[in-house]
Symmetry: D2
Subunit: 362 residues, 4 copies
């Protein structure tokens, strides 16, 4: 049953496989009159494209997008936007070897079981290449948010054992774009890069955590009791390839402490508005935003593809020894997941901004 | 905008406030011909009802449900089931004091900001009382799963600093029902109870983690790329009151390790089926179940209501000293969240079982 | 699969069977702050209640509703409204005779085929009694529309061979409430009543057409290309029991004429707005409202229940002679369908008003 | 708000404007393992393509489609199908004249009002060119139905004053493909063609009615009380450009007769199944199919574009005289609407086939 759409009012549908001719996205429900800043979209896409540096897959894609529909004289018209990205550097023969077995901790086995057929080339639809389409949709969402001064930042918070301090307010988040590991702390970035390079050198891969902050989001977003803002964020994040966990605010840590430590007391500002002294809630209470920073973390497992020789079982149940994995892959998915986390956060925020327009009467 | 429904085929809609006349649920899409075992539903409801013991709220509710529609001669007819539970022990006067201020880390402020109006009595719609309606829907889902031998267990995995070992396979999960803290390890249960009682004695509250396992679930459930099985689980869990985090399989821990440690290699069993040697994936790969145990954890923050005297700010911005909080509340929400986690897991599983019926042609 | 909800933002879910304890409705997505005028809702309900006069079913229901959730101090709170109506005059024994056969042109056969089980008492869920729940939801929608001065009128346009003139502008629509057949032309009302009484006297039933007008609806409602305003109206109307046809504006007649006859030329008014000289479009162009009157017609078949003796076939395939049908029924459903048509039109209009809030950027 | 998708399980999303680079469709929820017969899809597309003969628009499109995603080795994989059609014969300069005014009875005015911006070239998104994307999706649906021996036929039932007899069973429906007006009665086809040519000669256009029959559809499809089979058909049909009415079975005629004339009595066949003696219900009772033929009619208004000189009002409110309309258009839309009606009927049927899979327990 159809599961390739996300959002209720700002509805994003992606399509395309890793080794097909294109991947793409339809954004239905984008309001009319938005100036589509093509350079901005390209910049966003460039952040996740492969082949950027020694840490990422050697797949060489320039990831230029084409707008197929939904604009007129540079602006959105309210009709569905279709945007596509050509798959260029497709080396399907590298994947022939995967026709015969289910790669461990990949989706090969589950796609086969579900559909009875699978495109083994480059992971098919389960490939992280699909997330390029999400980044395009996220860029459009960000353009809408920009006009409202809502800003979304994500960064590598942890790679393996290398972990930043908790308090993002002490960081200059804009620095995350300055290094190839997307970490706003230059010293820690060097350690993260070392951790990834070590894993790669060992023919292994490594996991990590992305932290994301949404700033200047107004109070009131979120539709209890099921479509809570944080519930939709959680779904959005777990829908990203290799994501294994989500926490908001004090998250899992809150499970270890007392109420008197975790509660965020309110203070009244001079302009009459309320602020919380602390923000353990992460900007969401009862599923609705409270105008404080929204921050959350997403855990990513280590890439299941790595070069180290291993014994694997093929579809016939026979043991096969692999000394090398031919497909292109990242030793650590986290730096390239950063823009995808931002994209999904932007999509959730825009969708809930629109949903909230109907909370009150007029 | 409407946000009180969950599920696409097996669609659950809850309604009702803490201090209204009833809370209830409409289950639309329950297949016809299901024998509705009323005793089972009551048993499930009893697991979360308040006033069970010294650890939970003193609100005294017998939580008897009434079936309003959707059955004929004891069986479901395919028409929507409406089931309601009367609110009996409503002491709204206890909440008058809350009319004047936003309780910290509660939803008072956010509901007021979103809707411009709020029912301050007992938290209104944001009260955990709403989850009784989810437990009813979950019980119906469990009846469907029972026929397929799919079993769902949840238990208290952590309370404050007291934490069980990771490996649930070494536990007799059925023991979780034997103690008031819903912990399958009798010795640890005693420690958990002590932790809660200590918090209560201090006029404080405490957080914790629920672990849940879905057993015998067939391969193939989950609808990539957005309605992945784990993405929908994450949303379901974060939609529960006080939930702050979700992780599946090796979860956040996977972010700290190498691919060679985290990958689950496949082995072929004598009957021709595949099994993974380990299960760090938690039973889901690429968003689709792989027929291994599905297990996940949900973090709950400490109850934001507790008795300790504090300074709070009212809606006028004035500081008010509270020496006592009159409403009824649990010093730890975790034991009563256990059946709610099971209920939401059951709803997700049934919905995806039905969604998967259309994955193949005939 | 769940099919008992209508609307995307203003979402209406009905439940309940003819001979159950209650029928009811959940309205999710009603904006907060709406004063719920209970007298108005009761007035609307009274328009469709049975036993009003000699033309309608002798089922005697006072149709008093109870608000279960969603209001606080008389106003909506943004949480789901649940409203229920008790079924009082339930004479289920009258329907025992229907246990054994499928009434012709009723839903008995199809419910049995679809669900493998059916509540034969009074038609169960397929009974027109379900429409009382729609009228309640429609009354809430009308309260929202009232504040925007959007007015919805429906009336009996045709009963059997008795048919009004086309031009509703020549009628005083408010007169439709003055007679039991809901016809705004007093002279024609007498003929319509005679037609129904003749059919009843003959032990027969008779069909008819309801015409409905939505006035003062702003331009811009409707979401092409599938959720067009008229497409959603058509669905809403065909979802009413016994409805067999829908047409908007010049409708079926437009299929017989030339473009030069059917086109509505635009004129510019002094205030700068546009008006069409004629309104063959019925207020909708390209699926979007154009600020002219929206008008449409809904055809209803004659009630499939009537007293005349007939040979029927039971579920075992045996011929049974019926000299009398014991259940209560209307010889003509049209007068009681009038408020249901209005209710569904109001629900569609409110839902599209809210959907249109997201057409533009800010 | 997003309105460009149709269907719940078999979900069709179209995109693209008349004068953009492509129009296309994403079909999400198509089951895996379907052999995609490309020749069949092309044949279906060819039925509606323009420039086929003197009756249709002179726009010259070969309407070759490209499959962008969702197949592997000729079969569907369960992932979203994206199929696109290049717009070749785009003469946008012909439409410059339309930049300055709202064409009467077109969607120009309403799109402008709704979105504040519009692509005036060839009608933009409101162009009937969008229906080519529906025909592609419909062809895929038909491939699914073929395997179940469910057949859908549509034909021109009326053009202006030329109208076929009611009883489609007396016609050889396959003959509809033999003439350019898609009428299965050769003699009447000649009259219909004459009516269209006369209108064209007069610089005018003409309306008509399409009749459609779904044969061998099993009992049980349709999800009361809102997503009834006929309600979804009505929405599907009214979503087609220029459609103004829908009726099923005896439709509007049923409003003029008695119950004893309209009821369909049941007879039991030797194989134990039931059949109705007549089929005034049109194959649907209580919103659920009853295994009889489903037949319905869709009324189309005359094309609002025609050559006759007229006075029109531009956006500035000034009167402009048009002696000629430069864009390409059909004097009668009905023959080219025939395959679109079939396509939408196929989509509704497939979606409900899948939805019905969850009506019963296992």
């Amino acid at each position: 049953m159809a599961g390739n759409s996300f959002g209720q009012i700002f509805k994003v549908t992606t399509f395309g496989e890793s080794h097909g001719s294109y991947i793409g996205v339809v954004v239905d429900g984008c309001p009319a009159g938005l100036f589509l800043d093509l350079d901005f979209i390209q910049l966003e896409l460039d952040k996740r494209k492969p082949g950027q540096n020694r840490l990422s897959s050697s797949r060489n894609e320039d990831d230029k997008f084409e707008i197929i529909s939904g604009t007129f004289e540079g602006k959105t018209t309210g009709t569905p936007l279709c945007i596509m990205i050509k798959n260029k550097d497709v080396q399907s023969e590298d994947y022939l070897v995967y026709k015969d077995f289910y790669r461990p901790s990949h989706a090969d086995f589950t796609y086969q079981k579900k559909y009875g057929i699978r495109d083994h080339r480059g992971g098919g639809r389960a490939s992280a290449r699909e997330t390029a389409a999400r980044v395009v949709a996220g860029a459009i969402a960000k353009l809408i948010l920009k006009n409202l001064n809502i800003i979304i930042f994500a960064y590598s918070y942890r790679i393996g054992e290398v972990v930043l301090q908790d308090n993002y307010e002490l960081l200059d988040l804009s620095l995350a774009d300055k290094n190839e590991v997307k970490c706003p702390d230059a010293a820690m970035a060097i350690k993260m890069i070392a951790a990834i390079e070590t894993a790669k050198f060992e023919g292994d891969s490594i996991g990590g955590i992305v932290q994301c902050i949404i700033q200047n989001c107004p109070a009131g977003l979120g539709e209890p009791v099921f479509d809570k803002f944080d519930a939709d964020l959680a779904k959005a994040m777990l829908s990203i390839n290799a994501a294994k966990g989500f926490e908001i605010g004090s998250g899992f840590y809150s499970s270890t402490i007392k109420g008197s430590e975790n509660n965020d007391d309110l203070v009244k500002l001079k302009d009459g508005s309320f602020k919380t002294k602390t923000n353990n809630s992460g900007g969401v209470l009862g599923g609705i935003t409270n105008a404080q920073d929204i921050y959350f973390r997403v855990a990513f497992k280590p890439t299941p593809t790595f070069a180290k020789a291993r014994n694997l079982v093929d579809e016939k149940g026979e043991i096969v020894k692999y000394e090398d994995i031919k497909g292109r892959f990242d030793p650590c998915i986290v730096p390239r997941a950063v823009p995808v986390v931002e994209a999904m956060a932007a999509i959730v925020t825009v969708d809930h901004l629109f949903r909230n327009r109907c909370a009150n009467l007029y």
